[in-house]
Point group: C3
Chain length 162, copies 3
């Protein structure tokens, strides 16, 4: 055995302190499903809503008179932070994220609203801001009729773990 | 080699008799796609509709005047039973299910209908009822504009197999 | 080492010449997400639109007065060709596709349009036409409220690679 195997990880937990300060408590589901499932080295989250202090913080259809693109972006960011909170809760530490694999964004959309990518960029940008190359992920963004609790956005995350 | 390696599985096929009695014939797709694909130890199903005796049994948008939440729940349950029937058909036996990994529920939704989780709980609850801890899965529930054959619900299932 | 290990692959690149002639340039995303991510032996694409010469070629809701089922099928085919172009770009050659695992089709749908499977069959048929048994995949087809850039169809592809 070499010393390498017992040396501290090259990624320090300190690097996440700024991100961790943003993370809400994990929005654990109530019911028969669970927040995360790991199979092999992939951790999957359930669909996550833009929760803040236990409430959906941005509701309604993006592109309608009551939800602007900027508010949709805030919703996407909140969804992602809640999803990362679930990931941290499951893994114990964000250090165990090897790579963000996939982000799926369902955007509650007003008729004739086609800017789902602009909405989801707020979440994608945040991933790359904090995780760098390891944050680059595949993504789908689609406009849906409605979401649970009238949330403006719902995301799913798939993460490769070490 | 120990005797353990040749002992019968601890899960008996008998445990599934009640569930198996509920399973419809597998709704095998007609066309270029297939009902299930296994890669490694994960079995993926195609999107499954609430079929009963060869017909979509619950059609229309949940939350509209013609499809109540209870009817949506019945649709979700039927989708799941059809999906499990595909899984059994692919694996030969439900004994080979190690864990239910993921359930995705697309709920055809009337405007202003936001109770997709209540609809999908009917399917999630059934998984935990029959599979216990191994039935706990991640889940996304979203409201969509419309589904094939005007089905009220469509589900996808990902299962870890032994 | 046997001669087998240095013999040419049984699949010749020539077999793809007809398909490759159809492939558009890969529609690489601009932004924080990426076109494809490979984890283990699975390659995932981002959501792909029906691009042609840098533009969305089929826009609007399928089943409305301005987008017929045939036009939706053309959109599905274009999405798939763009997705395969991303796959070829990532892998270097279509020879490295072992199997098409999963195709997800989001179809922008007019109210009361329920023929998402007919739309997506155009993509599924193309996969089986070119890849044979290896092209048989699981599929979900759902109708959504709207898609980025008002595209008529968006697809995701998961491919097993060698």
């Amino acid at each position: 055995m070499t010393q390498d195997t017992v040396s501290p990880p090259t990624q320090s937990s300190d690097q996440w302190s700024e991100l961790e300060a943003l993370l809400p408590p994990p929005p654990l589901p109530i019911g028969s499903y669970v927040a995360t499932v790991q199979v092999g080295n992939l951790l999957h989250t359930s669909g996550v809503l833009p929760m803040k202090e236990g409430q959906v913080a941005v509701s309604g259809a993006v592109g309608s008179w009551d939800v602007s693109v900027a508010e949709g972006q805030e919703a996407a960011r909140l969804c992602l932070l809640n999803a990362l909170s679930l990931v941290r809760h499951a893994l114990g530490s964000l250090d165990r994220i090897k790579r963000i694999v996939k982000l799926t964004g369902f955007v509650s959309s007003a008729p004739n609203f086609y800017e789902q990518p602009q909405v989801m960029n707020a979440a994608s940008d945040l991933l790359v801001e904090y995780f760098g190359e390891a944050g680059k992920h595949v993504r789908s963004a689609v406009g849906v009729a409605s979401l649970p609790k009238n949330a403006a956005v719902e995301v799913e995350l798939v993460v490769e773990v070490v």
